[in-house]
Amino acid sequence: MAKRHVIVGGGTSGWNAITTIREIDRGESEIVLVSAENPYSRMVLPYYLSREIGEAHVFTASETRLEALGVETRFGRRAASLNPNDNKLILDDEEEIAYDDLLIATGSSAVRPQLPGADGANVHSFWTLDQAREVTASLKPGVRVAMVGAGFISFTILNALLKRGAELTVIEIAPRILPRMVDDTGAEIVQGWLEERGVKILAGAEITSIEDASGGGKILKLKAGADIEVDLVIMATGIKTNLEWLEGSGVEVNGGVVINDHLRSSESNIYAAGDVAEGPERVGEGKAVHATEPTAMQHGRVAGANMAGVDTAYEGSLLVNIVDVLDLEIASFGNWDDEEAEVIQAVKKDRPAYRKLLFEGGRLVGAILLGRTRDIWATNDAGMLKGLIQSGCDLSEWKEHLRSNPFDIKRAYLAVGAAETLLPETLLGRPSVPERDIAVQQ
């Protein structure tokens, strides 16, 4: 009998697992995909919001495409519980699906703080396509928007909101913006840049309640300071992993499902990938939940390869993030917040430009890159910084040079042979195949 793989969650990691299994077995196994939503890419929702792309552009796999790949689907259905003793998944309508192996790829959901009015009318999250549709429909030029939360996800949609003509106020409870993406110096530059361009920012501000205004708007009450009246509130106040359905299953969970370098959970035929997984890091020994697209993609592919029977060890995930707002690029890599690391940094306040390099001995372990869009893309230091961290090349000889000018990394990159170190590396031990070229055998 053909092996049956069950994939729970059809987002980035689930879809990458499916294509990888099919690339290897060309249709030999059974695949069942259970997903609360149809497969799409969350991270392109900001471009749908800005109307740079239409809604159809966000979908990764249509029913037709999945059928062509020999995938049986259960869309709009949720996994309700898991029984590893009998190898059975139970859905919300009580259907039981038996599996030989299973991938947990249920991602995360947006969460809101528990304060009065947080669930009221005209208060939105921006994490799913449905939520994006609601926000898109409420936007018109001149609309006053309060963006609650100034983290990475919040920043991915600022451009779109401004492009659609919103008048924006950003409110952050932490003392500064982007607390988990850049350091204090970086945050100060970004805040200055936005304020000069008409975006109001309130950091260190605590909202106590969200009330209805008489004209149909909303009023945000603050612990200290004047009320804020807007037409629309977007809550980008964090996410949580979708793990509830695993309760009682015995699968080991910490911040996410704990996985090993083969993407296996504590049950050897149950894998986990993406936002829901706590997996090995590329730099250092630890494990972490990244909740980023590149990690979800890599997890999905490595899990898929192992599920298809090709023993594949994973080197671990390297955290990389980039976002731009009003033509300022903000990127951070690896252990950018490592307090033990040796730091080399330089700021050009008036440009503005900021570069921070973090070293452990001769090895680059993290970096922050900040600058005007046109400056940043005149070179491509972003990729080279990632390459230096990934390759682990010894930069000892170059530290002096970088200390005098951390903006000049290309010569160091070339001279330490980063490219030579990196060229043999592939994620799955062979050249990658574009997903569009993957098909089952007829």
Binding site: I53, I322, D381, G387, E397, A419, E420, L422, L427, P434
Partner: protein, 160 residues
């Protein structure tokens, strides 16, 4: 598979490859839009071009959330402009620093080997860029390492 083989010792720094490359990509001569970039070494007495090695992993290809990067008939990873949303994920996934972002078009761009007839190879008067059957390799690394220590090299005393 044919690849771009770079022979740094032959490069004179004339930048014709950058001009030809940008012309192929945009119809205008603008080195900032070239995907092959010439670097100077030893206080500007040695030069070498550097571009996408068309690596096996295809870090850009696998990173793209909307399948906007394909492999063309020449075996090069190629950005499909109409599909690209400009999210830049490919540019931070590529560890070679050889996929760029165009702030005017809001799309990523990279070397596509001109579909099998690379313009940089055509215009190089010194045959410093060859298009031939070759394994991908780090063509510039050893050249650059040699020159890091030479007179006026980045590691020579006092150079900023």
């Amino acid at each position: 598979m044919k690849a771009l083989k770079i022979v740094p010792e032959r490069c004179t720094g004339c930048m014709r490859c950058e001009l030809a490359c940008s012309y192929m990509n945009t119809g205008a001569f603008q080195p900032s839009r070239s995907v092959i970039r010439v670097s100077a070494f030893e206080g500007h007495t040695s030069y070498s071009p550097y571009t996408c090695p068309q690596c096996d992993e295809g870090w850009c290809l696998t990173a793209c959330p909307v399948e906007a990067i394909s492999i063309n008939s020449a075996g090069a990873k190629n950005v499909l402009d109409a599909a690209c949303v400009g999210c830049k994920l490919c540019t931070i996934a590529c560890p070679y620093g050889t996929i760029f972002y165009d702030p005017d078009q809001h799309t990523a761009f990279k070397c596509d080997l001109c579909g099998g007839a690379p313009a940089c190879v055509d215009v190089c008067p010194r045959d410093a860029i060859l298009y031939e059957e070759a394994e991908t390799a780090d063509w510039v690394g050893p050249f650059s390492a040699d020159r890091a220590h030479g007179p006026g090299g980045a590691l020579a005393a006092g150079v900023k």
